[in-house]
């Protein structure tokens, strides 16, 4: 089959590799019909994530048709499914509590050592995201082996086009969980840092959960426009001072809840990378590491901090004093995708949530390397690239 493989920094190629096979009873094989490039794939592209190996197949936002099933899979050939990016068993204690991204059994036993050393306990596996998260081949490919297919993939009714449901795989549940973690109360003002896909989905989710106002913060004009379309007020941090603006806009109170969907964007998972980036930021004052600090300072007393943004290691100058003195609450974590999928599919079917607005580019899988470069170089215009294995390559 053809698959997008990582070869090094800014070097991804579409290679011909062996087709995947059923290896465990609960596996299925899907033929990919749509797969997206995630902002977090750019961390791999930029070479910031260690434990990558040449030839690793990328991609964790994908869907397709079931073409083969193991004896314990509950899926049937021909069904269309969206696959969660988190690989979770559904049978352990954490899955029982619907904490799927904390699954005990998603990672192969040997791969659990690194995460255990770094985080204290290993987390679930992830598709296409380095060997630290399992080394599973990803979905930017013609075919994918999907473990635990009896609990992960969600079946999509006939007649619903891919693009309406593809983002159930990651960014829609991630945005939803971010808003849920903000414990929004009716009448709240919620501030969202970062208008990437997760930020934009958490804006929509926050309104659905009863927020009266959402204030979106970014510096890409096109993304701020999209936030505005969903009813958010906006702050362009290149043109206005964020803390001052938020205090004025909330009558001196500060937002009731703050959502950081920026994170250590250009930061890797490992201590040395993170320290390196922190050193950089100390001198250069990047805005990215700034977002969580700014969110904590702006948040109203007794307010809530939700952090869907990916952080991997250590952060210094974390405003622990402000956090304690103001009595804030912080909720965070990788997304428990399986928990949110059914309700969010319903919301899509009932037209309560639209996700298709996000897609700015559609390309053949064969053109994926161009897609990565384009996404990397122009994050204002390029909001989402969807790859189609059955599209002919552009000439």
């Amino acid at each position: 089959m053809r698959a997008l493989a990582w070869h090094g920094k800014h070097d991804v190629r579409v290679d011909t590799v062996d087709d995947p096979e059923i290896l465990n009873p609960r596996d299925c094989i899907i033929k990919v019909t749509s797969t997206a490039i995630c902002g977090s794939d750019l961390h791999l592209y930029d070479g910031y994530i260690p434990t990558m190996q040449k030839g690793d197949i990328l991609g964790h936002e994908f869907m397709g048709e079931v073409v083969e099933t193991g004896p314990k899979s509950t899926l049937k050939k021909g069904q269309r499914v969206v696959v969660p990016f988190t690989i979770a068993c559904g049978s352990c204690y954490h899955c029982g509590k619907h904490q799927y991204s904390a699954c005990d059994n998603g990672l192969p036993a040997d791969n659990q050592d690194i995460a255990q050393e770094l985080y204290g306990q290993p987390m679930s596996g992830l598709f296409g995201y380095s060997h630290m998260t399992g080394g599973y081949a990803g979905g930017q490919a013609e075919y994918v082996r999907v473990p635990f297919s009896d609990v992960g993939p969600i079946v999509i009714p006939d007649g619903v086009e891919d693009e309406k449901v593809l983002f159930l795989s990651d960014i829609l549940p991630t945005g939803w969980q971010a808003a849920e973690n903000a414990d929004i109360e009716p009448g709240d003002t919620v501030a969202v840092w970062g208008c990437g896909p997760v930020g934009l989905f958490s804006i929509q989710s926050a309104f659905l959960m009863g927020a009266e106002r959402v204030i979106a913060i970014d510096h890409f004009p096109h993304r701020l426009e999209l936030a505005k379309k969903f009813g958010a007020e906006t702050i362009n941090f290149e043109q206005s001072a964020v803390y001052e603006a938020l205090m004025e806009m909330t009558g001196g109170i500060g937002p009731d809840a703050v959502i950081d969907s920026v994170g250590l964007e250009a930061h890797g998972f490992f201590v040395d990378n993170v320290i390196d980036q922190i050193k950089k930021s100390t001198f250069l004052g990047t805005d990215r590491i700034h977002s969580i600090r700014q969110a904590i300072i702006a948040c109203r007393k007794g307010g809530r901090v939700s952090m869907p943004a990916v952080y991997g290691g250590f952060v210094d100058k974390f405003p622990l004093g402000a956090f304690m003195e103001k009595g804030l609450t912080l909720k965070t974590g990788q997304t428990h995708v399986q928990h949110y999928m059914p309700a969010l599919l319903n919301a899509i079917m009932e037209d309560k949530i639209d996700t298709t607005f996000l897609i700015s580019h559609r390309m053949a899988l064969e053109d994926a390397p161009k897609g990565y470069k384009m996404f990397h170089d122009n994050q204002n215009e390029v909001t989402k690239v969807v790859l189609k294995p059955d599209f002919a390559a552009a000439v």
């Binding site: 062996d18 290896l23 068993c89 036993a109 080394g135």
Partner: protein, 196 residues
């Protein structure tokens, strides 16, 4: 069981986490028949009923399904079994082991018999953890092959018993909870290489 540390007031930590020089001796006391001087211990909670886990483990022929380095365990008689285990450099080592003591649904203690390639002994404890299932604790004492250098080499090949037992327990948990052992391999050929 190991970890009953009444003699250390104010420290209930299990012996495998101990910084005290006496930890190995103390663990040895619980092992009935000590073999070797390297101690490895690990507890894992498995979301399955205790009797099911005990029964699976007690049938030693099952151990090769989740113990990565174990090629086979063949029963000799109700108390004794013959072990064939992978060693660095594509070799195997073999020994006979005997159950030194056991209590159904509580623990199994074993020791290798004289002449073993790698002398070892240990015990596996099963404790009911209510709604969370069962806590399984493995305590293994072994004599690393060819001393420190041998241990380093074994570590390089990831055949080191302390690493191996930790991973084996995770595989046991996976098999019992999910009915399979997680793999990121894509093809049968890759899987065969991984399990080799």
């Amino acid at each position: 069981m190991p970890g009953d540390t009444e003699i250390h007031p104010g420290d209930d930590a299990p012996l495998a986490a101990s910084k005290r020089d006496t930890a190995i001796d103390e663990a040895t006391e619980s092992l009935i028949e000590p073999k070797g001087d390297a101690l490895s211990g690990r507890a894992v909670t498995i979301n399955r009923p205790l009797p099911e886990l005990f029964a699976y483990w007690r049938d030693f022929t099952n151990l090769a399904t989740f113990m990565d380095n174990v090629v086979s365990v063949s029963p000799i008689d109700p108390k004794r079994s013959h072990w064939v285990v992978k060693a660095p450099g594509g070799k195997t080592v073999e020994w006979d082991a005997a159950i030194t003591e056991e209590q159904e649904n509580r623990f199994i203690a074993w020791a290798s018999e004289p002449g073993a390639d790698v002398a070892n002994s240990g015990r596996i404890d099963f404790r009911d953890a209510g709604a969370r299932g069962t806590v399984v604790t493995a305590t293994i004492l072994y004599d690393p092959p060819a001393g420190t250098v041998g241990k380093l080499i074994a570590k390089m090949f990831q055949r080191e018993p302390a690493i191996q037992s930790r991973r084996d327990l995770r595989r046991f948990k996976q098999l019992m909870e999910t009915g399979e052992i997680a793999t990121a391999s894509r093809t049968r050929a890759e899987l065969a290489e991984e399990r080799d």
